[in-house]
């Protein structure tokens, strides 16, 4: 406020001075040089907030990173599919179950496509979903705690890539398989792939109140590669569209053998029809094994349930539910415009974009104008469903987003550019280079009914000379463009973490007021929590020792423990008694074969230590918490296995009240 007044004062003074200098300083360029200053557009003054949140997938980091736009500042890394020693995610006893699968504990994945929950086709800012590609999983992240709350494994899937996209009332999060596999899995020759492998498309229902996920059904499709997908919206709500490649069903030397067909397909799935079929008892339950991991905010603890069966649907048993739209050249991105009318297939080996018309598709279906079938699924005639073609002159189109003003923006990987074009006329309006080899792009809300068409972020695969070199490995690079005008304007470069495949953006106002500041201690239902320091204790159960400990600036209660023996398994259950925003405490024990813990205010986390050596061993707080942080430490005395020293614990010397 004061600063503004001074600025105003300075401005007035300056203008008076300038005015007195006479007419030679009249603005010749209207708006002046400053109004087009890229630096000014991305400058967020110290202490000010960004206008948008951006959630970038971390790719092979397995995590999700949170950025502010337009500054490009990284705000947080949210651990999802990977262990994260910074907070103890996947290391603490409470969060280890989050990474359980039918293959056991899998501490990493390849995180791909984040998507924010929607209501009536508009972003609602409640959750963000993201898929693990390698060991097929879908995660749900809360946008109040910014923590991963749930992970469900997808059986009968492999290379969970055409995921995790949300229908317009978050009825379903959809996960399609990129690699077809034998279903059920069995020992068979690889060369017998053709007509024996299947591709599953999973529709996972989302509980409207808690967000809990459950596989409603899996559609068992021919053994193609289901690459990317997007839901229909508005008029096409109720449909889902998947690009396919390898309709050749090759199983080796794929880069040649799965690029033979001139056209592959976009699969159009009428999920409402299948939902109705399933609700009326349709489908076949088949044995399956998959993990469902749910984190409970009140107990601060995750639990795993192993599921034993899944409902499968044969598309041939639901007439009118699935059609194939021929689409040239191994289409990759599959994007639907905000009106739901246009389905864009980005043929990655082509120069052109193919746009299908939803209305034409419905008309062709109603007229039963089919051009053959594949495994019993009707193929529509390419010319009957085609709305238009964008002849851009670029090479390698991958993904398209929308600005809500009738324009679309497509990335071209091979020619390293973003191309802006007009829906309906298909004319190219502008093109800007990217640095380098752009993959995905994101406009906040750009895959919803209501995009916020102010910026587009291009996420590039190759960085090379954009930043100071850091050895052979460089973080990937992103570019932010202003798209508020007719022409795009490059504003800023910023490094990203891992490999962002896609991102989801959202106006900050939709999220920031709901962002939790603390966990209330009186709502903490963790079985090992202590709600006041006088409940601190140490218990022995055989060779298990449970330490019920609390923290507040700046001490542990208790901080001296004796009676622990070599061969014990010591559980530290630590409750942070702070109730103030941004005052976590850390915990680390010398020689512990795991990571530290970072415990948020009001939270309880547990860490295991198996002491191997006799001695007196220190532990300490790892997060600089106050001026007395260096004093925040304690000792555990470890005696020989056959020692008879009783368990004891204390803080301070006196027993004074």
């Amino acid at each position: 406020m004061k600063t503004r007044k001074i600025k105003l004062f300075t401005a007035v003074a300056a203008s008076l001075l300038l005015a007195s200098c006479g007419p030679q300083t009249n603005n010749k360029k209207s708006g002046g040089a400053l109004s087009s200053s890229a630096a000014e557009k991305v400058y967020v003054a110290p202490g000010e907030h960004d206008e948008f949140y951006a959630f970038l997938s971390g790719g092979f980091s397995g995590n999700l990173t949170v950025y502010g736009l337009p500054s490009g500042r990284m705000l947080k890394e949210i651990p999802v599919f990977s262990q994260y020693p910074t907070s103890g995610y996947g290391y603490s006893e409470e969060t280890k179950p989050m990474l359980n699968t039918s293959f056991g504990f899998v501490p990493w994945d390849d995180a791909h496509h984040p998507d924010i929950s929607q209501t009536n086709g508009e972003l609602d800012g409640r959750w963000v979903f993201i898929n693990g590609n390698n060991t097929p999983r879908i995660a749900r992240i809360s946008l109040t705690t910014f923590e991963t709350e749930e992970i469900i494994e997808i059986p009968n899937s492999a290379g969970n890539h055409s995921s995790s996209f949300i229908t317009e009332n978050t009825e379903y999060v959809v996960a399609g398989t990129r690699f077809s596999v034998p279903i059920p899995q069995r020992d068979m020759p690889i060369k017998d792939y053709k007509s024996n492998f299947k591709g599953s498309l999973s529709f996972i229902s989302v509980d409207p109140e808690h967000g809990h996920m459950d596989i409603k059904f899996q559609l068992m499709m021919p053994g193609f590669n289901y690459d990317l997908s997007h839901p229909g919206r508005d008029k096409s709500h109720g449909w889902f569209f998947f690009t396919t490649y390898n309709t050749e069903e090759a199983n080796t030397l794929m880069e040649v053998n799965s690029s033979q067909n001139d056209k592959d397909f976009i699969a159009a799935v009428n999920w409402k029809k299948i939902e109705e079929y399933v609700n009326n008892g349709g489908g076949t339950m088949m044995p399956a094994e998959y993990a469902h991991n749910v984190y409970d905010e009140s107990t601060h603890t995750a639990t795993t349930t192993m599921k034993k069966e899944v409902l499968t649907v044969d598309p041939l048993k639901v007439p009118g539910a699935v059609y194939f739209l021929p689409t040239p050249k191994s289409p990759h991105g599959c994007d639907v415009d905000p009106t739901g009318q246009y389905i864009i297939g980005n043929g990655k080996l082509s120069a052109d974009l193919t746009i299908h018309s939803f209305d034409k598709m419905i008309a062709a279906i109603e007229a039963k104008k089919f051009d053959g079938e594949a495994y019993g699924i009707p193929i529509l005639n390419f010319d009957d469903v085609l709305a238009g073609t964008v002849k851009s002159g670029g090479l390698g189109p991958l993904h398209t987003e929308f600005d809500g003003k009738g324009n679309a923006y497509t990335t071209f990987f091979i020619s390293s550019e973003v191309v802006k074009w007009k829906l309906g006329t298909w004319e190219v309006i502008d093109r800007k280079p990217t640095y380098y080899s752009v993959g995905h792009l994101m406009i906040p809300g750009g895959n919803s009914r209501k995009p916020f068409g102010k910026y587009v972020v291009a996420m590039n695969k190759i960085t090379k000379d954009r930043y100071l070199p850091t050895g052979p490995e460089m973080e990937h690079s992103a570019q932010l463009y202003d798209i508020s005008g007719e022409k795009m304007e490059l504003l800023i470069d910023f490094p990203t973490h891992g490999e962002p495949h896609y991102a989801a953006g959202c106006p900050a106002d939709l999220i920031k007021a709901n962002s939790k500041k603390i966990y209330r201690l009186d709502e903490n239902k963790h079985p090992y929590a202590i709600l006041s320091p006088d409940q601190a204790k140490v218990e022995r159960k055989g060779n298990e020792v449970h330490v019920y400990m609390s923290t507040i600036r700046s001490h542990f209660t208790p901080d001296n423990i004796e009676g622990v023996k070599v061969g014990d398994k010591v559980y530290f259950h630590i409750t942070n008694h702070e109730q103030d925003f941004d005052v976590p405490h850390g915990f680390a024990m010398i020689g512990q074969n795991t990571s530290e813990l970072l415990i948020m205010p009001g939270q309880t986390k547990s860490s295991v230590w198996e002491p191997k050596k006799v001695g007196v061993w220190p532990f300490y707080c790892t997060d600089f918490c106050s001026a007395l942080h260096q004093e925040m430490q304690g000792y555990v005395r470890v005696s020989p296995a056959d020692s008879n020293i009783e368990l004891s614990w204390s803080l301070g010397d006196s027993d004074e009240e």
């Binding site: 004061k2 507040i552 600036r553 001490h555 109730q579 005052v583 001026a627 007395l628 006196s654």
Partner: protein
């Protein structure tokens, strides 16, 4: 920020002084004021010295109300036993990590606190500790006396802080 203020003041002074022509009378007044200021300055160190002898935790200040949401509680009604009970429970859950009733722990002992501080000051210290140790002179000194160990904000409601105060009233 400070620099700008100084520059602006300097400009003001120059502008004002350039208006010139103060009367002899005004000049005399200014001199008198200067004298008064000098006298005040001489007295100040005496006060400070007196304060230094008593530790902040032992100093009685029944006038300062502190900085925070509690402005004026007026005359407190007789002690309410139900509130005391609830206050004790809250104290045990939220405060005993650092405070004991009768002896110094991480922070000061709380016995007798209502005879040394105003009820408003106590509640502001509970509800608004961060700003208190920045702006309230006594809270600032207490922070130094207790080795810079910060009073944690336990995010209590005014109602909860009032109950804790009620419990403190029984410790005298």
């Amino acid at each position: 920020m400070k620099k700008i203020t100084i520059i602006l003041s300097a400009i003001l002074i120059v502008v004002l002084s350039s208006c010139g022509g103060s009367t002899a009378n005004e000049a005399a007044k200014t001199k008198d004021e200067t004298k008064e200021t000098t006298v005040a300055k001489e007295e100040a160190p005496v006060e400070e010295k007196a304060a230094e002898d008593v530790k902040p935790s032992e100093r009685v200040d029944l006038s300062t109300k502190g900085v925070g949401p509690i402005k004026d509680l007026g005359e407190l009604p007789p002690i309410d036993e139900k509130m005391v009970k609830e206050g004790l429970e809250l104290f045990q859950a939220k405060c005993t990590a650092c405070h004991k009733a009768k002896s110094k722990f991480i922070g000061p002992a709380l016995k007798g606190v209502t005879e040394m501080r105003t009820p408003e000051w106590i509640m502001n210290m509970i509800l608004n500790p961060t700003e208190m140790v920045e702006k309230d002179p006594l809270a600032k000194e207490l922070l130094v006396e207790f080795n810079g160990s910060p009073m944690a904000n336990q995010n209590l409601t005014e109602d909860e802080a009032r109950k804790i105060l009620e419990f403190f009233r029984t410790l005298n």
